[in-house]
């Protein structure tokens, strides 16, 4: 121990140095994300070239379709809305140390609950919308419970259990859509929710509704929870070092359940945004196409957003823009919509290996050193 008291100026210098270190780490993280995005778009361009499409025209279409005018921007934000929520599902769980890829199933169940409540409960608009949101959040949370329970009591890995529950939700939804919630007037979708339970378009002619405020609100709540509440503190500790949490006397069963329940609430809400918060259908399609893949895209969103609520909002807008712009890309360059998935996948693979860049830098540095005349080697013993 140093007996000398630390001078205030010294403390200042230490704080400043620490701040600078944090800033540098944040900038480095941002650079990694940007490099990954460039690699993803580059591989996408290569694939399109290989398949004989005009990739410049495709990316131009993607840009026009997502940010070209106010309607395009509104469509981008509408596509981002469910992705913010499904991104939070993965991001929150990852912060607590769980690889929860169950957003898809929990969201489907949430969408079913929104249809069931929204179509059958006549109430004043504000009440109906609130109840529909609550019902779907609850449904999502309930669907998330068995994997949490299996994890805590039987040690079942959440990747396996959540994927199985996604498939069970998928087939349950197919059954309910055709047999219980079906609309006698239309074979291809469920009954539509009553007008009182619908959120209207904020800009006439575009898809964006007040649902985006719900999504952003949940993101802000998750931020508060993780960094400004004792429960969030416990969750983050659990993610960084599970045994430390146990030594501190916390109950791991409670920690798993809390994380999965909160994540499930967000997933359920994501389902509701597609039913009561997205004109013009206000129903679930028979092929589940209006909730298709949104849960899996949330994984991409969370990874690109580095599992941080603010990062998740930005990443959701990026992925949402690719979803909204893909139609214009298809019209202008004839490229299939699924093209954007190649970009997502490549971005994630590139993000998986942050050390690749340091290694590459070292390799290039060594190559440069080899070309330059070698400096006289200092005499020293090498310990291995």
């Amino acid at each position: 121990m140093d007996p000398r008291p630390v001078e205030p100026q010294e403390l200042d210098a230490i704080t400043r140095r620490e701040r600078r270190r944090q800033l540098r780490a944040a900038l480095g993280g941002l650079a990694e994300i940007l490099i990954a995005l460039v690699i993803g778009l580059g591989v996408g361009a290569l694939v399109m070239r290989g398949a004989g499409y005009n990739w410049r025209l495709a990316y131009e279409g993607l840009l026009i379709g997502s940010f070209g005018d106010q309607w395009a921007i509104a469509d981008t934000l509408a596509s981002a809305t469910p992705l913010i929520l499904t991104g939070l599902v993965f991001g929150l769980s990852a912060r607590a140390g769980y690889f929860n890829i169950g957003a898809q199933g929990q969201m489907v169940v949430g969408a079913l609950a929104a249809v069931a409540v929204g179509a059958h409960l006549s109430a004043p608009p504000v009440v109906a919308v609130t109840l529909a949101f609550l019902a779907s959040a609850l449904a999502g949370a309930i669907w998330a419970l068995p994997p949490a329970f299996l994890k805590a009591t039987r040690g079942v890995h959440e990747v396996i259990s959540t994927i199985m529950f996604n498939w069970i939700a998928h087939y349950t939804a197919l059954y309910l859509v055709f047999n219980v919630l079906n609309d006698p007037r239309s074979a291809e979708r469920t009954v539509r929710v009553l007008p009182g339970a619908r959120l209207g378009a904020l800009i006439p002619g575009a898809d964006m509704t007040a649902a985006i405020f719900v999504a952003v609100g949940v993101a802000v709540f998750m931020y508060w929870l993780l960094w400004h509440s004792p429960w969030g503190y416990e969750m983050r500790i659990a993610g960084l070092n599970p045994s430390a949490l146990r030594y501190a006397g916390a109950n791991p069963l409670w920690s798993v359940n809390l994380t999965f329940i909160l994540a499930g609430l967000a997933a359920g809400l994501a389902g509701a945004t597609q039913i009561i918060g997205r004109p013009p259908t206000y129903a679930l399609y028979g092929d589940l196409s209006n909730v298709r893949n949104l849960g899996f895209d949330g994984i991409a969103v969370a990874l690109i957003g580095r599992n941080h609520p603010l990062g998740i909002i930005l990443a959701a807008i990026f992925i949402g823009a690719m979803g909204a712009g893909a139609r214009m890309m298809q019209i202008m360059a004839g490229v299939p919509l699924d093209m954007v998935r190649i970009v997502h996948g490549t971005v994630i693979i590139a993000l998986a290996a942050p050390e690749a860049w340091t290694l590459l830098g070292k390799f290039l540095g060594r190559a440069r050193a080899r070309r330059a005349p070698a400096p006289p080697a200092p005499a020293k013993t090498v310990h291995r």
């Binding site: 994927i163 699924d338 190649i342």
Partner: protein, 297 residues
């Protein structure tokens, strides 16, 4: 008639699960976990159809194997040399596969979402007393035997297990940990590639945007069930495969679908997987260093 079709169905449904699980068993023993098996199955299923239509079923199987090995190599390099996050890389593979195959089907055959593989390009079945059976059933057993022998009775197998349990000690003993682990990742990729080819140019005789339908993840559950023993992966594949084929058989029987809606019959393999994994997992212990990158001190 029903009995023999159920037995054959279970054997045929076992093949992709057991082959994929067998490869992943070796990889996890060496310390590399790949949850991108679903994506590798999908891409290699697609590549195999392209290969088979160009050069026959054997070429299709080879193309599937090589495609899988290549994807396993990418995952292995990220996991071993870049010390990346193995789970993230696996998820990336799964998403990438959805895009590649959706575009590939449109690009190759002009129709979106679906392409049927003609009989001439399929692996020809053997005739058995039960009915026509795919030769890949026998290949599956041989691959499980080979992997078991490799792990239990060869020098390489010893090195593989050392890399998964205690890479630092293996390194100190002169084992080249990175190479062994990369071999594991490529082996898992190659076997998954064969399984993918089997899906498209043999068993299901079609390629769709989501052909494996979760079988990559059921294979992961089979790995857990097997406790990293290839012979138990055969048993696990048979159990999961039985319910998979029961679903396929039952959903075509009108008498049954009137009582139980077909959606619930099709749900069965996933429910059974959950129950089995929840039942056996308590006694399972993964190799100590599995899934973690190795960094030399």
């Amino acid at each position: 008639m029903l009995i023999s079709s159920l037995i054959l169905g279970a054997l045929h449904a076992m093949v992709p699960l057991t082959i994929t699980a067998t490869g992943e068993i070796l990889s996890e023993r060496a310390g590399v976990v790949n949850i991108g098996l679903e994506g590798i199955l999908l891409i290699s299923a697609f590549a195999a159809v392209v290969g088979a239509e160009a050069g026959g079923p054997l070429a299709g199987l080879m193309v599937g194997l090589l495609t899988g090995a290549l994807l396993g190599l990418i995952h292995g390099i990220i996991a071993v040399y870049f010390r990346g996050d193995q789970t993230v890389s696996g998820v990336g593979l799964n998403i990438l596969a959805l895009g590649v195959v959706a575009i590939g089907i449109v690009d190759r055959w002009g129709a979106a979402g679906f392409h049927r593989v003609e009989r001439a390009f399929r692996v020809p079945p053997l005739s058995t007393p039960l009915g026509p059976m795919s030769p890949m059933v026998i290949v599956t057993i041989l691959l499980a035997a080979l992997t078991w022998y490799l792990l239990q009775h060869t020098n390489l197998g010893l090195k593989i297990q050392a890399c998964g349990e205690n890479p630092a000690a293996a390194d100190a003993a002169g084992v080249r940990v990175e190479r062994v682990r990369l071999f594991g990742a490529v082996y898992a990729g190659a076997l998954t590639g064969i399984a993918g080819a089997y899906l498209s140019i043999d068993w299901l005789a079609t390629i769709t945007e989501n052909l494996p339908a979760g079988r990559g993840f059921i294979a992961l559950a089979t790995v857990v069930f097997s406790r990293l023993n290839p012979w138990l992966a055969v048993l696990g594949g048979l159990i999961f495969g039985f319910f998979d084929s029961l679903g396929l058989v039952a959903s075509t029987s009108q008498a049954l679908t009137r009582v139980i809606p077909y959606q619930f019959i099709q749900m069965m393999p996933y429910v059974v997987t959950l129950l089995v994994v929840a039942g056996v997992i308590g006694r399972f212990r993964a190799p100590a260093a599995s899934g973690q990158p190795y960094r030399r001190e």
